[in-house]
Symmetry: C2
Subunit: 300 residues, 2 copies
C-alpha cells in the first residue's frame, strides 16, 4: 500500500511517500499561510497514492480532523484540514495529533520491543502519544497524550495553553531560549543555544539543564500513571546532550515506585521521521493505530 | 454468577457476596497481621461462590497477585495473596490494584455515561485506575493508574514511595493530618480533622484546602495526558467538603486546553463500595476488565 505521509508542525511542514519504507522527505517552512505552503508541498507528491496520513499539532476535533494547533496562529481558531485535503486530492485522509503519530512511528518501526510506550516530541511545543497494549490510545476526543500539559511547577511560567507551569511552558524550545535571553544570552533559536551549550556556555547549559529537570518530573508523573516500559523522546530539543543529565537525575529522584525501576527513557529511535512513519501507519497499520469507533466517535 | 468481592486496604478490610448486586458488606481492621484478619473475615462468606475478586493496595506483581502495598507494612516485602487465597478456598481468584477496582466499579455501575474515566481513591493513600475506551488499562505490569505519584510539587514533602512532592505525599489522609499537627492542630485522624473543618477551624480548613490544590494540579495533569471525560473521586478524604473549592479552582487554573473544557470531576457515585463492585467485575465482567493476555502477561 502506497500512501503519502505528512507532518504539519509549528515551524516546518514535511512529507514523504511510504511504499514499504519511507521515501525521500521534502520539507518547507510552515510560514503564515500554512494551507498554501502545504498544498505546494503535497501537489507534486500525491500522484498514485492510496491515501494520505497526516500528523498535525493539537488540539484538534478528532477524527473529523479540524485542527486548532497552539503553535500555528493562522489555524488556531480551527481549520478543517482533513476535509480540505480529502476534497483537494480525492483520497482517504486520516489525521491525528503529530505527537501521537510520532509515538506510533516509534512503536511500529522503532524496534523497542514493548507494547507499552510513551512517545514524546520536544520541539516548538512538547507533545506526546500513548501506545498501551500495542494500540494507540486516542482518548475520548483523540487528544490523549498531551504530556506537555502535565503541570511540573504549579507556580511556574504561563503556558501557551492558558495554564501555568506546564511541562511545555518550561521545556519547549522557545521557552528555553526565552529563559536564556532573560539571563543575557544572545541566542535567538534553540539551534543557536544548543551550539553555545556545546561550547560550554554556562547560561546555555543552565537553560537546557532546567528543561531537563522539568522533563524528568513530567516523565516520572506520566510513567507512574501509565505503567509504560519505554519513553521515547524525540524532537529537536531532545538531541541536545545538555538536557539529559538533569533529566535522568530528576527522574531517578521522583520515579521511585518499584514498577518504575526498569523504565527506559531514551532518545527516539527514528529521529525526525517518526511522525511521518506514524502518519503512514494510520493507513498501513490502521488495525492497531486507527480506531475512531473504539473511541466512541464516528469515522470522519 | 455469584462471587465474593474483597477490598484490602491499609486501614480496613471489606468483603461482600455479589449475586447480581452487592450483598451486605462485612468489615474488619487490617491490623498488624493482615492474613489472619482477612481469613477470619472471608471464611464465613466463601461457601458457594464461583470465584473471588480482590482489590488490594499497590504496587503488586500482576496478574500473579503477589502484593507489596505501601500502606500495609506487614506485606511490604511481598506477599503471594492471590496464590494463598486460591489455595485456601479452591476457587479462581483475580486480584488487581484496589484503586483500579474502584475505577472499574464506577465505570461498570456508576452510571457516568462515558467510556473514558479516571477513578481515584483519596484515603490512607491516593490511588487511581484508568478505564479508556470502555476497558480497564492495566499497563505493562498491571500498575497503570498510580495517579497518587504524579508529582505536583517537585520540591514538596517526601512521599512513602521514596520520591518527593507526589500528590499522595500531600493529599493522603495521614499527610493532611500531619500538616495540621505541624500547625498546632490536635486532630489525630482524618475524621477528627474533617469534624474540626466542619466547625470552621481555620487550620483544618487550610489543611484540606491545600490537599484540594494538590488534587486539582494532579487531576489537571492526568486529564491532559489521558483525555478522559470523567474523574470520579472516592475515598474517605474526598467526602470532606472543604477539599472541593480549592480543587475546582486549581483545576480551572491549570486545565485550560480546549478539550478539557467539558471535563467532569465529581465525587464517586458508589461511595466506599466502588472497590468491592469492581472486584466482583473482574470475574463477572472480565471481558472488559480482566485482560492479562492483552497486557502481554501470563494469566496467574
Amino acid at each position: 500500500m502506497t500512501v503519502l505521509a505528512v507532518d504539519v508542525g509549528g515551524t516546518k511542514l514535511a512529507a514523504a511517500v511510504w511504499a514499504g519504507a519511507l521515501g525521500e522527505v521534502t520539507r518547507s517552512p510552515t510560514g503564515t499561510d500554512p494551507w498554501t505552503a502545504l498544498t505546494e508541498l503535497l501537489d507534486p507528491l500525491v500522484a498514485g497514492v492510496a491515501g494520505i496520513g497526516v500528523g498535525c499539532g493539537g488540539p484538534m476535533a478528532w477524527p473529523a480532523g479540524a485542527v486548532s494547533p497552539l503553535n500555528i496562529p493562522a489555524w488556531r481558531g480551527g481549520f478543517p484540514l482533513r476535509d480540505r485535503l480529502a476534497e483537494r486530492y480525492g483520497v482517504p485522509v486520516r489525521l491525528h495529533n503529530d505527537a501521537a503519530c510520532a509515538a506510533v512511528g516509534e512503536h511500529w518501526q522503532g524496534g523497542w520491543g514493548t507494547d507499552h510506550l510513551l512517545g514524546m516530541v520536544v520541539s516548538t511545543g512538547v507533545g506526546g502519544g500513548l501506545v498501551i497494549g500495542g494500540r494507540l490510545v486516542d482518548g475520548a476526543g483523540g487528544n490523549a497524550g498531551h504530556v506537555g500539559h502535565i503541570v511540573v511547577d504549579p507556580l511556574g511560567p504561563p503556558c501557551p495553553c492558558g495554564g501555568r507551569g506546564c511541562l511545555e511552558a518550561i521545556a519547549r524550545g522557545p521557552a528555553i531560549v526565552a529563559w536564556a535571553a532573560g539571563q543575557g544570552c544572545t541566542a535567538g533559536t534553540g539551534v543557536e543555544l544548543a551550539e553555545l551549550a556545546a561550547h560550554g556556555d554556562r547560561v546555555a547549559l543552565q537553560a537546557f539543564a532546567q528543561a531537563g529537570r522539568a522533563l524528568g518530573v513530567g516523565i516520572a508523573s506520566a510513567a507512574a500513571l501509565l505503567d509504560v516500559e519505554v519513553v521515547a523522546v524525540g524532537g529537536g530539543i531532545s538531541q541536545v546532550p545538555a538536557l539529559w543529565p538533569t533529566l535522568r537525575r530528576t527522574l531517578r529522584e521522583h520515579a521511585r515506585l518499584s514498577f518504575l525501576g526498569e523504565l527506559r527513557v531514551e532518545p527516539a529511535a527514528l529521529g525526525p521521521t517518526a511522525g511521518l512513519v506514524g502518519a503512514a501507519a494510520l493507513l498501513v497499520a490502521g488495525d492497531r493505530y486507527w480506531s475512531p469507533s473504539r473511541a466512541g466517535a464516528v469515522e470522519g
